[in-house]
């Protein structure tokens, strides 16, 4: 009908055809009437188009509007909740290394008429906006519980038997428990080349520390399990390494964005003889506040034993990608204080596990905060000069942090939670701060904490061994042994 009207009157400027055909001499009156009709038809069309446009825009933009207002509300809540935490415990730790930013959940526009063209999935609960990075695979059957592998119940005895049979591979070497440092990064290039440069530097930093302290490194660049992707990839790898290397007493997980900044400091393993998991955190934040940042799973030690296998099995179920992880995320956000709404991450899941099954696990967990097994970078990177002036390596705590962990910087991704200049400057400074401690043996030092160049601080001599005795960190440790 609209088409007919268009055809007869001509949309916007066409000559009136039928009127002319019917004989032009009808007179002005007729012409004016016809013009009015023409105009009214035009107006109708305009209104129709305008209406459709508004509908369409409302349908799409409305998601955005509600989303942002949700985020603001979330932010306000966060601020309200965390201020009391921070007032009580001044050294609260901070969000862990998140692969993806927490995306505020968008509610479906229930109060608006949904345009019939827009096809919304018919789930009653809110769906996060479509993630274009990771297309969710609908392969996981939520009824079948995910497992890391077939259940093992006698790992302690299996291990003991093996160690007896293989005296060439003891779990204690030179009086120290054998530790395996596990770290890794994604298999492909980083989003930006600068990310790979910093991964290279952090791996050099780890190589240096581990060489000096007799620790072996496994650098993982493979996704062993499609379902446990992102921050969860460490779980299957840890389990795999434990089972393949019975001679290893401790597996030490370390994030790729964490750097050693106290090369002299050695972990006081004797403190943990009765424990199986050593993790940095604050008992107050954990038990009283139930904060989602009470512990940090960016750096931790896990003993190779049955207890740990059980812990991994209990920890993994929130991990599988897709609806399980999303649902678990909601549970965690509801349970833990200050947690934004996003899918389940390994840190929140561990805190939840340890809190909800406290009697089962906490006895063997050592929540360490006497030294920086994990040190949040923001409060540390500006202080390096002060530390060099006042203190010395070997302390491991806030005076000379053991580990500086660049949480939230995400050098391998595209977007960080912090300004990139600050992040990279911080990483450069932390790297050079640590490298200076390594280069001391060789008589060199960086030309400033922001410089990749080095300068000589000790002339060459014909008797270099006196300096080796003085500066080699391994020898220092040897001498101070009881």
């Amino acid at each position: 009908m609209v088409q007919d009207a268009l055809r007869t009157s001509g949309s916007g400027g066409g000559l009136p055809t039928t009127a002319v055909w019917n004989g032009g001499g009808r007179g002005r009156g007729f012409l004016r009437g016809w013009q009015v009709q023409n105009t009214s038809i035009n107006i109708k069309i305009m209104i129709l188009c305008g209406f459709v446009t508004i509908l369409v825009l409302l349908g799409t933009v409305s998601f955005g509007n509600l989303g942002s207002s949700n985020a603001d509300a979330v932010n306000q809540n966060l601020i309200k909740e965390t201020e009391p935490i921070l007032a009580e415990s001044p050294s609260a730790s901070v969000p862990t290394d998140l692969e993806e930013l927490p995306k505020p959940e968008a509610n479906p526009p229930t109060d608006l008429e949904e345009p019939p063209i827009a096809e919304e999935p018919s789930k009653p609960e809110a769906n996060p906006p479509p993630e274009l990075e990771e297309p969710p695979k609908a392969e996981v059957n939520p009824n079948v519980t995910y497992t890391l592998g077939p259940r093992i119940t006698n790992w302690d005895s299996q291990r003991k038997v093996w160690l007896n049979q293989n005296p060439g591979f003891p779990s204690i070497v030179n009086g120290k428990a054998r530790i395996l440092l596990l770290t890794g990064s994604p298999p492909g290039p980083c989003d930006k080349p600068i990310g790979d440069y910093y991964l290279l530097k952090t791996v050099k930093n780890k190589i240096d520390y581990c060489r000096i302290h007799g620790i072996e490194i496994v650098y993982n660049m493979a996704h062993l399990d499609e379902e446990l992707s992102g921050y969860w990839t460490k779980l299957p790898m840890i389990r795999r390494l434990m089972l393949s290397h019975p001679e290893v007493e401790w597996i030490w997980w370390m994030d790729s964005d964490a750097l050693f900044t106290d090369i002299l400091f050695e972990i006081p393993m004797s403190r943990y003889e009765k424990h199986n998991l050593v993790i940095h955190g604050y008992p107050d934040l954990l038990f009283n506040q139930k904060s989602w940042v009470a512990l940090n799973t960016g750096v931790f030690l896990l003993r190779n034993c049955q207890w740990s296998l059980d812990l991994l099995d209990a920890w993994a179920p929130m991990g599988p990608k897709g609806p399980i992880r999303d649902e678990a995320g909601k549970v965690l956000t509801a349970y833990l204080k200050g947690r934004p709404a996003f899918e389940a991450d390994d840190q929140s899941a561990l805190i939840y596990l340890l809190l909800s099954q406290k009697e089962k696990w906490m006895e063997k967990v050592y929540v360490e905060n006497q030294y920086y097994l994990h040190g949040f970078w923001e409060g540390l990177v500006d202080k390096y000069e002060e530390m060099i002036e006042k203190y010395h390596p070997g302390l491991g705590d806030e005076r000379w942090p053991f580990v500086t962990h660049f949480v939230g910087c995400k050098p391998c991704g595209s977007y960080a939670d912090y300004a990139e200049e600050r992040c990279f400057k911080g990483m450069e400074r932390a790297f050079n701060f640590a490298d200076n401690q390594v280069l001391k043996l060789y008589g060199f030092s960086h030309m400033g904490l922001l410089s990749p160049k080095v300068k000589r601080i000790r002339n060459e001599t014909v008797s270099p061994l006196e300096f080796v005795d003085k500066f080699d960190i391994r020898r220092t440790h040897e001498e101070t042994k009881p």
């Binding site: 001044p90 299996q158 003891p170 080349p193 595209s414 977007y415 990139e420 410089s451 160049k453």
Partner: protein
């Protein structure tokens, strides 16, 4: 006017057609907008993304920084100023436009070499053997042999202090060091990854000389120093070097006697992967090797000498490899009897003749051979993944480096029951199921607990 040209009838038809066209276009545009709004259009995005972008454009760090800013650590000194300054003044959080070289700051002055003095790596030491053996005797917990016939080895490699010019260069450096970490872990070898230029005069390929000397003198417990270029990868994880064979030698390089001593061919040996024993002989060799290295006139002139004296050498400044060929060819009596030119296995394997045969190797052979059947090292000479200009097409180089990496990585992954889906793929697949008796499973290559890694005696052997 159109009427007059074409006649009223036709004119009307054209106008009708135009009207229809307008309507069609309008409807089309509407449809596209609606569809984009609902199902999105790939890289053209959705209106929500547009909004996000607009929002970000006007409020760069506010939204994302807020929830985390609040949770930042507040120091007892009251540094809340610094935290707000961080998210406010830092500019965008997008690494897209970040220029890394802007953050580097060199403080102080670089040392200027004295132009009158001839170059030297350091003051001459003549009693290094005695110094070292004294030290080893006093430090029995740092033996130079970690097992019978197994010397303590330090693998030394490195790359330039600044980021690569080629954007993917750093990624390949990372893969290369991971590859070395894996081999060295299996074989009980320590790694030193150098990222410092110790001597500005010996820049480029010569940078290894001052570094090697420094490491030999600082690590008397190291018996052999194994230099390896950053563009060389281990492709045989099971091959253990035949240390016994080198008992009487101080320098082991891949090469051929005839090509070095008779032909004086500039590629008669390769200094991309070699072993150097920690003793006086090595220090003397380094002192004799170095003089062609200093940047500038000396290196240029030396280059001309080398091009003239060596077979097949192109014209360019002196490089350490040609200098070594020249040194050995002209001073065979002094050095030759302690140099072993190894060609029984690929201590250095030129990639050009190896990389296309990996599939054939997998089918016909097995790891542990180290030679042309299963090369120990695949060395990507001429590829220069870190720089902008190599001698070979970039794509071929990078593709083959991926293949070589996966070829080596498969040998590590099979220990844990995995393998790459193909030599070109980053993804891995399971080849062995998990069991509840993991210790009964033996990995085929015996790399989990190889004999050469077992902890043994702690005595010194000279």
């Amino acid at each position: 006017m159109i009427e007059r040209c074409l006649g009223p009838h036709r004119c009307r038809r054209i106008q009708r057609a135009l009207r229809h066209l307008k309507v069609t276009v309008l409807c089309l545009v509407l449809t596209v907008v609606v569809l984009r709004g609902t199902i999105g259009a790939g890289k053209f995005g959705t209106p929500e993304q547009d909004l996000d972008e607009i929002r970000q454009h006007f409020q760069p760090s506010r939204k994302r920084a807020e929830p985390h800013r609040v949770l930042e650590e507040i120091q007892t000194g009251g540094d809340s100023d610094s935290s707000s300054a961080a998210s406010g003044a830092g500019g965008s959080n997008n690494y897209e436009t970040f220029e890394i070289n802007k953050i580097f700051v060199d403080e102080g002055e670089e040392e200027k070499p004295d132009p009158n003095k001839p170059y030297t790596l350091g003051p001459k030491i003549s009693d290094w053997d005695e110094q070292r053996s004294d030290w080893l005797a006093k430090n029995p917990t740092f033996p130079n042999f970690i097992g019978p016939n197994k010397p303590r080895v330090l693998l030394v490699t490195g790359s330039a202090p600044k980021p690569c010019e080629n954007p993917v260069g750093d990624h390949y450096l990372l893969k290369s060091i991971k590859n070395k970490i894996d081999y060295c872990r299996l074989h009980g070898i320590e790694i030193f990854y150098n990222m410092a230029l110790l001597d500005a005069e010996m820049a480029g390929f010569w940078a290894k000389l001052p570094l090697i000397r420094k490491l030999l003198l600082s690590h008397p417990e190291v018996e052999f120093l194994w230099w390896m270029d950053s563009d060389a990868m281990f492709t045989d994880m099971a091959f253990e070097l035949p240390w016994e064979r080198y008992k009487e030698y101080n320098l082991v390089m891949h090469g051929w006697n005839e090509m070095v001593y008779d032909e004086k061919n500039w590629i008669g040996l390769n200094t991309g992967s070699f072993l150097l024993r920690n003793n006086q002989w090595a220090l003397d060799l380094l002192d004799t090797w170095a003089p062609m290295g200093p940047k500038g006139k000396i290196r240029e002139e030396a280059g001309k000498v080398l091009t003239r004296e060596l077979k097949g050498r192109p014209v360019f400044e002196a490089d350490d490899q040609s200098a070594m060929v020249y040194l050995l060819a002209t001073q065979r009596d002094t050095w030759g009897n302690k140099v072993y030119l190894e060609n029984g296995y690929y201590l250095h394997g030129y990639w050009g003749i190896l990389v296309d045969r990996y599939e054939e190797m997998i089918e016909n052979y097995h790891p542990g051979l180290g030679d042309h059947r299963w090369p120990l090292v695949t060395h990507f000479v001429g590829c220069k993944p870190c720089g902008k200009f190599g001698d070979y097409p970039v794509e071929r180089c990078l593709k083959q480096m991926d293949r070589a990496f996966n070829f080596g990585d498969n040998q590590i992954l099979q220990i844990y029951g995995f393998t790459h889906k193909s030599l070109a793929s980053r993804k891995v697949k399971r080849v062995r199921n998990e069991t509840s008796n993991p210790l009964e499973m033996k990995d085929e290559l015996g790399l989990l607990h190889p004999a050469f890694k077992a902890v043994k005696l702690q005595t010194n052997q000279v």
